[in-house]
């Protein structure tokens, strides 16, 4: 079996009194699109920045393409491409000259014109960086991540804050890169991004990997149950909803009751009867098929975007 492109073992990192990473371990294999899924502050960016060589870990070992980012930073950066969570470039740099300049830094590089075309930046080739929209800036950041034709690509929240149209375009680009068998490590807090794009996902929270597997494997862990979210006019009696037909788990999150049910139709019928008997009004009801959100919720007891 070939050596993994990324090996992370027992990674610890503290920022003063804050424990950002508490023993993160995982591997990423050649040609895989691997996702780190978790809420803000979970430790995703710290992990990816240690792998990129931007930060040092307090403890633990890291190998990227067989290299230690701290001991062989230059060699590693020649084979790795990266887009930061927030890329900043000088305001008065033009798009094409930015790509050309970064291309010059590497031994091997792609044709900047090809990248302009691929990322639909041809019309903006002579525009200054400060004249680009948020989506165009992000496309340029992605183009820069590919400028050295990297073996491994790091993308830190590549679609955060972008409108749905631009997000879809970036998904298409990432799917193309997958077809090219590029190895990609992506951080995200978007469930749909992880489900749609990632071959494997590590669910991260409070600096720990809570679960790791393919999206399908992870969803199976939620026992294939349907999530029913219910809002009531007044609190339900303790444990009453737990005993409804089909309910396997019930918890309260702020004003919403989250019921996991193996027989959703029967659960809803039973719920309505129960509320009628108790004189409680149903203010809202939503049903969700099993998703990584449920996995996260089960593992951490909170939502991804809290």
């Amino acid at each position: 079996m070939t050596e993994p492109v990324i090996q992370v073992e027992g990674l610890y990192k503290n920022y003063g009194a804050v424990e950002a990473l508490r023993g993160v371990s995982f591997e990423v294999h050649e040609g895989e699109l691997f996702g780190l899924l978790g809420p803000n502050g979970a430790g995703k960016t710290t992990t990816i920045e240690i792998l990129e060589g931007l930060r040092t870990q307090d403890r633990g070992s890291v190998r990227v393409c067989g290299l230690d980012p701290q001991k062989n930073p230059v060699e590693m950066k020649h084979v790795v491409g990266a887009a930061l969570q927030s890329t900043s470039l000088p305001d008065k740099m033009r798009v094409e000259e930015t790509l050309e300049m970064f291309a010059h830094f590497y031994r091997d590089h792609r044709d900047p014109k090809e990248l302009l075309k691929r990322f639909q930046l041809e019309e903006k080739r002579n525009a200054f960086y400060n004249q680009l929209s948020g989506g165009q800036k992000q496309r340029l950041a992605l183009a820069l991540a590919l400028v050295n034709n990297p073996r491994m690509i790091f993308l830190d929240e590549p679609t955060a804050g972008l409108d749905p149209q631009v997000r879809r375009e970036i998904y298409d680009t990432l799917e193309e890169l997958k077809k090219e068998k590029k190895t990609i490590l992506l951080t995200t807090h978007y469930i749909e991004e992880a489900e749609r794009l990632c071959d494997r996902v590590a669910v991260v929270d409070y600096g720990r990997v809570m679960a790791l597997g393919t999206p399908r494997e992870l969803k199976q862990r939620s026992a294939g149950t349907t999530r029913i979210e219910v809002r009531l006019s007044q609190p339900s009696a303790d444990g009453a909803l737990n005993h409804l037909d089909g309910v396997t788990d019930c918890r309260k999150l702020e004003e919403t009751y989250l019921l996991h049910s193996s027989k959703p139709t029967q659960t809803i019928v039973a719920l309505v009867k129960h509320l009628e008997a108790q004189g409680v009004e149903l203010q809202g009801l939503e049903m969700f098929s099993p998703s990584l959100e449920d996995v996260f919720l089960e593992l951490t007891g909170r939502r991804l975007r809290e």
Binding site: E52, L54, S88, P90, K92, H104, F105
Partner: protein
């Protein structure tokens, strides 16, 4: 690394030329000073122009101190350096690009100043152009490196601006480029001996006024070169890519290392040297020449 440094230097030259602030402070302002000096201090007397040009050249070269070091701090604060850190380039290439780009940005101003003095103000001499070239070259590189050391030991733009202003004021008012050292009280004259700017200004004034030879500017050239090497190495070691990486108080003391050659040179000049006599002598020469030369308005009568 050479290729990367050159690429970065070209990028920084382009950015500087696209910045109105840079064009104003590095090009328009020295030219404004030149016209002001010749018209108000020289009163249009061509014999005074070489001496005044020496001071203006020193001013233009010292301007490299501000130059691109501020840009580097701004890049760090805005997170721009982080993006460069993802590429296989090191602090050495980034710092060297500041020095190289400053060097190439200083020369057009210097050449323009020479041409204006010669053809507009009828300067009677070119001075020793080789000595001027040597001093401008080493001066531009050294003062850039001194700016870099300030950028390396400060944590934000505000702090950098305050420290740069203090150092710049010392350079400006105690080096002889704005107020002739000969006018200063004795104890202030002694203080000026510890400033690199004084040596640069005196060297350039000598090269212009009496075509000082290579050997006459050798002492200042060596001191500037040593300062350049020390300042570059200290800046490289203290270089930070990340905006949140703050430098500790003790590490800031490393900045003083760049001044060691001038502290030694100042000590030597104070006890055994003759720089102050030379400065006063140069000033007497220019006064005598100016007094002996016919006033330009007299020629027209």
């Amino acid at each position: 690394m050479v290729n990367q440094t050159w690429t970065l230097s070209m990028m920084r030259i382009k950015l500087a030329l696209r910045s109105r602030t840079f064009l104003f402070f590095s090009m328009a302002m020295p030219l404004g000073f030149l016209f002001g000096y010749v018209i108000f201090f020289g009163r249009g007397n061509a014999m005074a122009v070489p001496y005044l040009l020496g001071a203006i050249l020193a001013l233009s070269v010292m301007g490299a101190f501000w130059g691109l070091s501020m840009q580097l701090v701004m890049f760090r604060e805005q997170g721009i350096l982080r993006r460069f850190h993802l590429a296989p380039i090191g602090p050495g290439a980034m710092l060297a690009s500041s020095i190289i780009s400053n060097y190439f940005l200083v020369f057009p101003t210097v050449i323009l100043e020479f041409l204006i003095c010669r053809f507009v103000f009828h300067m009677p001499t070119w001075g020793n152009l080789w000595a001027v070239f040597l001093l401008v070259s080493i001066g531009a590189a050294t003062f850039s490196a001194m700016g870099l050391i300030v950028a390396s030991v400060t944590n934000d733009m505000q702090e950098t601006t305050v420290i740069n202003n203090i150092i710049w004021s010392l350079f400006l008012f105690l080096s002889g480029v704005t107020i002739p050292v000969a006018f200063m009280p004795g104890w202030v004259q002694k203080v000026t001996l510890f400033l690199p700017a004084t040596y640069l200004a005196t060297g350039l004034e000598g090269a212009m006024l009496h075509a000082a030879s290579f050997s006459e500017v050798l002492e200042v050239t060596v001191a500037l070169a040593v300062s350049l090497i020390v300042a570059f190495e200290v800046s490289r070691r203290l270089f930070r890519w990340e905006p949140e990486e703050k430098i500790r108080g003790k590490a800031k003391l490393w900045a003083i290392a760049a001044l060691i050659p001038f502290l030694l040179l100042g000590g030597w000049e104070l006890t055994r040297g003759h720089l102050l006599q030379e400065i006063n002598h140069q000033f007497q020469i220019i006064n005598q020449r100016a007094a002996a030369a016919p006033h330009p308005t007299a020629n027209r009568r």
